[in-house]
């Protein structure tokens, strides 16, 4: 359900929104770059994650306290495309 009462948006508010939206787009680009730069470290984190999934003392969290070990053949293969985490 819409939760807004119809109203006129003053020009000064429209200008403020335009400025904030432009800044937000810049911030999004900056974060995407920082997260791209993190890729080598993240690749190592993925490897460690797979090791934990195969560790009988840890395993994959299915639901709350339920866990299971993931077999070798169940692990995914890295695709050829670039790893991306910001969308």
């Amino acid at each position: 359900m819409a939760q807004t009462i119809k109203h006129k948006v003053p020009a000064v508010v429209k200008a403020w929104l335009k400025k904030e939206i432009a800044l937000q787009r810049k911030l999004h680009k900056k974060i995407a770059k920082e997260m791209d730069d993190l890729a080598p470290k993240r690749a190592k984190w993925y490897e460690d994650f797979f090791k934990r999934l195969q560790n009988p003392a840890r395993g994959f969290n299915i639901h709350f306290t339920d866990r299971r070990v993931i077999a070798d053949e169940e692990l995914p293969k890295k695709p050829r495309r670039k790893d991306k985490v910001i969308w």
Binding site: F64, P76, D83
Partner: protein, 300 residues
């Protein structure tokens, strides 16, 4: 809600700016965390100077706030850190006074920030939905397994502050105990937003999220595995029902995750799924109990 994927963002890294929008008085400062490009809906951390005052008034859109530090007086109500306030569109709040300064997380939900002086409600206001609760002292933690299936691992606890019965959108306080860990990757059909009030947690895609850390994450984006060495206290929200889709492939895209979610829907509700994908374009969801849930509501 069309907001960019902002994750991670730490508000401590940027300075406050003066709030200059009409209606808001001098002494209010903000950091923009995320903003909807279509509607102007936004989330900010806000600092009120000592002595800040605002007369009685209302907003044209619903807003929520949680007090991070300091005390805010609304008329006779004294609200300290941890107070959560949800003010529906058009509901007027009594005069606001911040005697010694305060920090809040402030969210305007469906339109840009607005403040109109008024000592009475707008004729369309839904006052029954006004919420004012001390989330620290007045509520206790619950495991998420009581509310959500499949659930996050033990040690991540919730206090539900807002539940929208139509969309199942949630606002909640959550915490992770020290040495919390959860080894899976999650995504949801909803957008998700969170702010760390205290503490650092780690996610496999984004690294550490410390105190003051924030994210706005659109639907179907991978996040996790998770851990926290010393625990966290945080505030979170979704814009519709939160379902945890867990898996262990870190390389899937949001489109692949969406397709998987749709496949799950086809398995669990096959008749509804088949009706919804009708190729003739004549299937329109209609709720006989709430016919205007999406369009033509009394508000717009």
């Amino acid at each position: 809600m069309a907001r960019k994927h902002i994750e991670p963002f730490v508000d401590r890294e940027v300075p406050f700016k003066k709030m200059t929008l009409p209606g808001f008085k001098k002494g209010m400062h903000y950091k923009m965390l995320s903003i909807d490009e279509d509607t102007g809906a936004c989330t900010m951390t806000v600092k009120y100077d000592a002595g800040y005052k605002l007369p009685p008034g209302m907003s044209y859109t619903e807003y929520e706030l949680i007090i991070l530090s300091g005390t805010i007086k609304y008329g006779d109500d004294i609200c300290t850190a941890g107070y959560y306030v949800r003010v529906p569109a058009g509901v007027h709040m009594p005069a606001m006074h911040v005697p010694r300064g305060a920090m809040v997380m402030l969210m305007y939900n469906f339109a840009e920030p607005s403040f109109v002086e008024s000592d009475e409600d707008h004729e369309l206001a839904m006052r029954s939905q006004l919420t004012l609760v001390d989330s620290y002292e007045g509520m206790q933690w619950m495991p998420s397994s009581g509310a959500i299936y499949p659930a996050v691992a033990p040690g991540c606890l919730l206090k539900i502050l807002k539940y929208d019965p139509l969309t199942e959108a949630l606002s909640f306080l959550y915490c992770m105990t020290p040495k919390f860990w959860q080894d899976n990757i999650s995504y949801h059909d909803c957008a998700e937003e969170a702010y760390h009030i205290w503490g650092t947690s780690w996610m496999m895609q984004f690294g550490d999220l410390p105190t003051g850390g924030y994210f706005w994450r659109p639907p179907w984006i991978n996040h996790g595995a998770f851990r926290s060495d010393y625990g966290i206290l945080a505030f979170g929200r979704t814009d519709s029902k939160l379902h945890n889709y867990f898996h262990w492939n870190p390389w899937t895209s949001p489109l692949e995750n969406r397709d998987r979610a749709a496949a799950q829907l086809a398995r669990t509700k096959p008749d509804l799924f088949n009706w919804a994908i009708s190729k003739d374009g004549h299937n329109h969801p209609h709720d006989f109990e709430v016919p205007d849930w999406k369009e033509g509501s009394e508000y717009v």
